[in-house]
Symmetry: C2
Subunit: 338 residues, 2 copies
Amino acid sequence: MIAKSQNKYYSLYERERKKIETKLEQSLKNREPKSLYSPSYYVIKGGGKRLRPLLVLFSVKAAGGKFSQAYNAAVAVELLHNFTLVHDDIMDNADKRRNLPTLHNKYDLSTAILSGDSLLSIAYESLLKDLSTSNLHNGNNSKAIINSFNKGLIEVCEGQSLDKEFELKVNVTINDYLIMIQKKTAAMMEMCCNIGALLGGGTKKEINALTKFGKNIGIAFQIQDDLLDIVGNENEFGKFVGGDLIEGKKTYLFLTALNKAKGSHKKDLLNVIKNKGIKKNQIKKYKSIYETLNVIEESKAEISKYTAKALSSIKNLRSKNDRDIFYWLADSLIKRIR
Amino acid sequence: MIAKSQNKYYSLYERERKKIETKLEQSLKNREPKSLYSPSYYVIKGGGKRLRPLLVLFSVKAAGGKFSQAYNAAVAVELLHNFTLVHDDIMDNADKRRNLPTLHNKYDLSTAILSGDSLLSIAYESLLKDLSTSNLHNGNNSKAIINSFNKGLIEVCEGQSLDKEFELKVNVTINDYLIMIQKKTAAMMEMCCNIGALLGGGTKKEINALTKFGKNIGIAFQIQDDLLDIVGNENEFGKFVGGDLIEGKKTYLFLTALNKAKGSHKKDLLNVIKNKGIKKNQIKKYKSIYETLNVIEESKAEISKYTAKALSSIKNLRSKNDRDIFYWLADSLIKRIR
């Protein structure tokens, strides 16, 4: 969650986030059959940062457009994101999401598969609405927008497949990991900024700048997510601290530690792979290995590096105010606690 | 399968079906990661009638266009169809499809969910290709085409949800059933003809005529599917005869029988619902109940009714040859044995 503050950008974020909440709910209300749409509605009511729709909105503005041109697209990217969460939760056997039972846990497997599919179908429907109503500079942007959205979908599937592949693979490099998170996490944020910039009718330069911002902030966001698994506050984070270690996930921290470790540390880390995870009472031990190997500080440095990369790409945006929104957002994401 | 014949339309169907096979394979070849695309490729190699892509091609031609304008759209509808099969097979706990292990059976649940999702993402990619290259009369058709495709996706999800709902519901009427199959089966065929007609640049009348053809032939096709479960030849049909009864599915035949039955027949049929299916050794008994109640003949009449409805809508198509293709296709579907 993005931390509360008196900041004017936080107020803007909150105001727009609330609008998105309402529009998300409206996108699923009054649809039949209830057996399909009630579960989807439950997922959407579960909340979330709504970061992806906000990226669309801030990008449309930075490219010279208005928020009002992009609400349907903003709803579309969040529905697409939730489609991935529902299906990923099945694949990861996750019981909870945002402190609530996951969909397959609350209902059943069939309902979760189908409601996931349905969220995706409504995502496209919402996106297509903006394409028919917004005052685009020319019809070609419509194609670019829908191509971009679809590319995001293709990449998120590929990224999830790599992620599942890595669970069974012994020799995953940091480079493999970066390719995976670019597809699984960053491609979607890249797409959000790209679509926003296209809807806003930005110049080629602006579109490229915003798209790069999305990609790099997405990489930073995912490494931060990996970091929060270790340094996060259990109550605030909404999921178990050390959960990635328990599941034996090959996170940025884990792979960096494995790269640097020697002797007994190396053996301990290889045991995580061998045993496909650790026990709950071993978390402290592994956290201390990470600390000894300076992995936590190195991860923070990597997050800063990608955040700086993201921010440098937008330094020539036309309005200072629009740049500042992204500076504030990047800063809030680094400081976030879940 | 459509029965072999010396008919010139059968030769055309076969020629185009083979082209579609190649293009379907190409759409998934040389993609990474293999962990995602090999399973999808396996599904596509499993074969099928390729009825939906052929509906696209015949419709583009009937609307005044050329096959070459619609190959990508034809591939798209078949990929979309296979996405639904992969996810439906999970939900139905089906072990086999077209005499081969289903995807979740050959690989695992996660692979099947994700490869299904991916088939859908590549379907959109393929559709979008035709939208950027075909010589459309105007850009608006592009939006109509993608809207139509997406409407097909939404309806097939809703139809599958109703189908799952009916498994648990006691009082399903024939009308409920017709609404369900319109969404689950007919909407997709309707969409195929609609997209073909739009790509071919047909007049409003032609588009409407072909779209109605798709819808009604889709309803006939599904009732025929229900009928084949009872009268089909086990070896040819590729799945178990009486399988719908064993699973307690509320097919057109079952609901019609339930409607007409009295006394002991009624009790026997209500037992199917109560026990959520029958035993294999009871199939003969239930087939004989269907025969006594004249349900098989009534189903055939219903199939003929919807087929006639489909054909009457296209009687004013500009070319006799194009009309004859549809007459041949409708006739072949009625005569099909699986």
